[in-house]
Symmetry: C2
Subunit: 626 residues, 2 copies
Amino acid sequence: MANPVLPSSGALSPLGLDAVRLAPGFWGDRVALNREVTIAHAHEWMEREGWIGNFRGELPRRGREFSDSEIYKLLEAMAWADHPDFAELALTVVKAQEGDGYLNTRWSGSRYTDFEWGHELYCYGHLIQAGVARLRTHGQDAFTEAVRKAADHVCRRFMDGTETCGHPELEMAMVELYRATGVERYLELARRLLERRGLPALGPIHLGAAYFQDDLPVRQATTLRGHAVRALYLACGAVDVAVETGDDQLLEAVRSQWERAVARRTHLTGGMGSRHADEGFGEDFELPPDRAYAETCAGIASIMLSHRLLLATGEVAYADLAERTLFNVLATGVALDGRSFFYSNPLQVRVPAEPSDGINLGHSGGLRSPWFAVSCCPSNIARTFASLGSYLAAADPSGLRIHHHTPAVIEGAGLRVAVETGYPWSGGVAVRMLADGRGRLSLRVPAWAEGATVGYGPAQAGDLARREAPFPAGARDEAAARTRIVRDATPGYAVVEGEWRAGDVVTLDLPMAPRWTFPDRRVDALRGTAAVERGPLVYCAESVADEPPLADLSARLAPPVEHAGPSGVVELEVEAVLGERVSAGWPYSSRPAQPATTGTSLRLVPYHRWGNAGPATMRVWLPTAG
Amino acid sequence: MANPVLPSSGALSPLGLDAVRLAPGFWGDRVALNREVTIAHAHEWMEREGWIGNFRGELPRRGREFSDSEIYKLLEAMAWADHPDFAELALTVVKAQEGDGYLNTRWSGSRYTDFEWGHELYCYGHLIQAGVARLRTHGQDAFTEAVRKAADHVCRRFMDGTETCGHPELEMAMVELYRATGVERYLELARRLLERRGLPALGPIHLGAAYFQDDLPVRQATTLRGHAVRALYLACGAVDVAVETGDDQLLEAVRSQWERAVARRTHLTGGMGSRHADEGFGEDFELPPDRAYAETCAGIASIMLSHRLLLATGEVAYADLAERTLFNVLATGVALDGRSFFYSNPLQVRVPAEPSDGINLGHSGGLRSPWFAVSCCPSNIARTFASLGSYLAAADPSGLRIHHHTPAVIEGAGLRVAVETGYPWSGGVAVRMLADGRGRLSLRVPAWAEGATVGYGPAQAGDLARREAPFPAGARDEAAARTRIVRDATPGYAVVEGEWRAGDVVTLDLPMAPRWTFPDRRVDALRGTAAVERGPLVYCAESVADEPPLADLSARLAPPVEHAGPSGVVELEVEAVLGERVSAGWPYSSRPAQPATTGTSLRLVPYHRWGNAGPATMRVWLPTAG
């Protein structure tokens, strides 16, 4: 089955990518853009920067020590997207492999001499994930054989001993290769790598052992910590090992780490990571909006982790966080034209960025960049969109669960349905049966959706009147009007059970009124502010060229007003007051700041759309007036 | 004259270290501790870590690429302190010099191949400052000859061309060597290095050209920016060049950079630097208390810069900032036992640090460390305390100015005085004439000291009744009672002019009531908080082992109550309320945080004393209740 994550057990079973076909809509458009634009864009930049040339032996070698992994992530993206450039690029990689299976363009002459920073096993991890993608979309070929050979080399070299890699990633890749091939040594190596970590397994570094999660064994840790991507990839591997080995204690450990990190170390956007210095989580309640790191890759890794926990447990909270992160980190990470990217995703930008078309040597978050010296995010975005369908729905023993509402045709658990919706701009979702069938249909009702309703027929859904195919655009209201029962749907799942005939429709209505959101008072950096959310979207004030200057504005907590923006986007307007600007030689005084009084208003846009209109200031958390 | 900074012109003239003899008191005790403990402590660690062995050719070379500079800063400290270990350590350095004057234990085999990160010219700068200290305290010897030889090598190599060093430092050192020797090429090289910078002179780095102030020529920049120590050292060099070349435009440029950085980029403690990732300033009003970097070295560099600007202009605001930084950064940087150090000086610590007696590979600020892998701060502290007397007073054309009130005997501008005071714990300062004399006495009245008074005789100070020598302890009140005029002294200088007889006393009374201080509302990270200051000291809540948990407490803005702490220290108590702890799975909600109501109190200690009682939480900025 074509899906990056196929556990052999768990509460939910994934569907194949061919069973979830996205139609035009919020996510379908993004996935198409990824296939048509972003993959080629990444391919071009990797060639231009010499990272592909490294595999051809071009000298001097270019790029960072982990640049091989970008090619592998791109290959994974191409495999899931059935992209025509896969074969040639894969061949370039295969040719660089050494006789014993070793494959790395940076460390070939000095294998395994730097476990802390070398990223060799990390690179194998991404190579293997690309190999699994190819196996599951195409079957064996020279590339998958090379991947197996590399994996076998790694097993021989690392099955015994105490070594592991400074960057987790190989763990989940090895489990997935085991799932794809049935070869148990891959699972065993993943298990051993996981158990070694934190004994400790790595040498001291200036960022501290927690940076690469080597401060504690994974099953003893109580929260996610250190470098966010490393922490989340490790947790993914732990879930995978736990599921395949039936290790409930390990699964529980990761679940409580997730819970604590979500409760104390996660930005409103779902972004994770508060420190630039180590791309790390920081401490509980350390959630600065301006220096939020919230790396795009960490958002992707968080989605990967929540998805694994959702499959293992069937608990909807994991899908809630995944949705928040999909809309507010993944969708933010790439520009509307698919050709530039955010590495970090701050929740406040004070100074408009300097535009540049060149490579970004750093990670600054004021404007998207076409490429980075460390360009992990674009290829991660590419492979995530290429496999996005795998996150939308899953099967449970009684039927089909739809977690993310976007236009698509979904087939699973004996049902075949079309989802039609303008979500996230509007809150109505219609799920139409495309064939007769029997089974439970569970539609996720997000945690914020207090007051949602689900509409369906009385007693037995099979009694529902048939609808004409194809489902006409705009027919959602019509369908809703004709259904016979509308009942409250509380956050969780709206479950409708019965026998279905082709044309039957289930409707879900999610309340989309904008809402003010306040931080826990332990979040020092957000004291005295509030943010606006609408549906699954976080909104922000964006001020192009800082006109009006955002530093002078405070918001009144009146209900935001909706405005139609471009392309069906809903924008919001909030009442605001303009503060007098105090000019002084010292920013501290014995007089508290005076409240502002001049009334004005402030336009808010969905956070994921900010930064597409040129250099701007931005803030998600608005100081509140009075 | 024994003083690190001897400009050939300017509003004020420095006094030699032999003319400012510190007596027991706040600073005198610290200076004695430095000479007796800290210098030897640093010497031992540099030997233990092999950084001194590098000069003996021991292999493998140890320490970072700039570790030579630590030995030079220690030598400078030893020279100012007339420390007996100077000669032997200096000889070790001299022996490592190459025939053409080149001296660097890291780059000997690959000279000048990495200007961005190599720190070669930076190391020469510290070598030269040590040489100047030796010249001015002892005169020529083999070490000062080696320093001259090195300086001449550097002049030959870098007088022409476009190269400079990624870390400014050589500029001010070369100017001082010019001042000490009269050799004009040293000044000329400093001038050229300064003018080259920002053209740009260095290659691209991932932290951006502003990191090492290579984004703009120094005279075009409008604020201090990038790496804080680099920015401040460069500004010091610019002032020195401006003063020696009569370049008023350059001086004005640095003055406005100082003004803007002080108004927008300086923590309440005087600490500079808000970002860990680049040890940098960050943006205007980016002043997070928890992630305040406020590197000890940046505080020292800020004191150096303010001192230079004070000498050049005679404007008291520079001394005000220097005092704030002396008491709240320099004094904080070293433990009460002189054997451990803060690298960064955050204004909030949420989680008690793990104690460790070993080398600190990072810079974390939760507890002081005996040594660091990058150990710039301890040796910088050592050289600053060893020359601290140079900051206390200066001469202007009409008399003596005392900028920092601490027990000392000071001789300058034809006056010889003893200063007696319990400052900063009490606000009374008595300055007693130790000899007959004539001239103006100017005592600094800090900007916060609204309501200060100065006491002295009528019309002519020479009319004052004579006092018996020696000045008895506690006689300040008696002296104050007998003086004939007490008048208001507004912030700036309290100036008393006249003819003096030995025994005459001038008293200054500074109001020491604790005061609440509020941040500018543009400082997002401090919204809804206030801090307490008393005299020149910033206070903080310190909670050993986080009992009571600081995260649960908010302060009421009632007047703080004073308590006598250990060793004459004044501690404060403020009213507080205890918030209910909200436990939730997500730190954001549609309900604003509820105000706390349970009354309690909170003990505050001087910020510079925190962290001496074991692992603790701490905060300078207290959330305000209601």
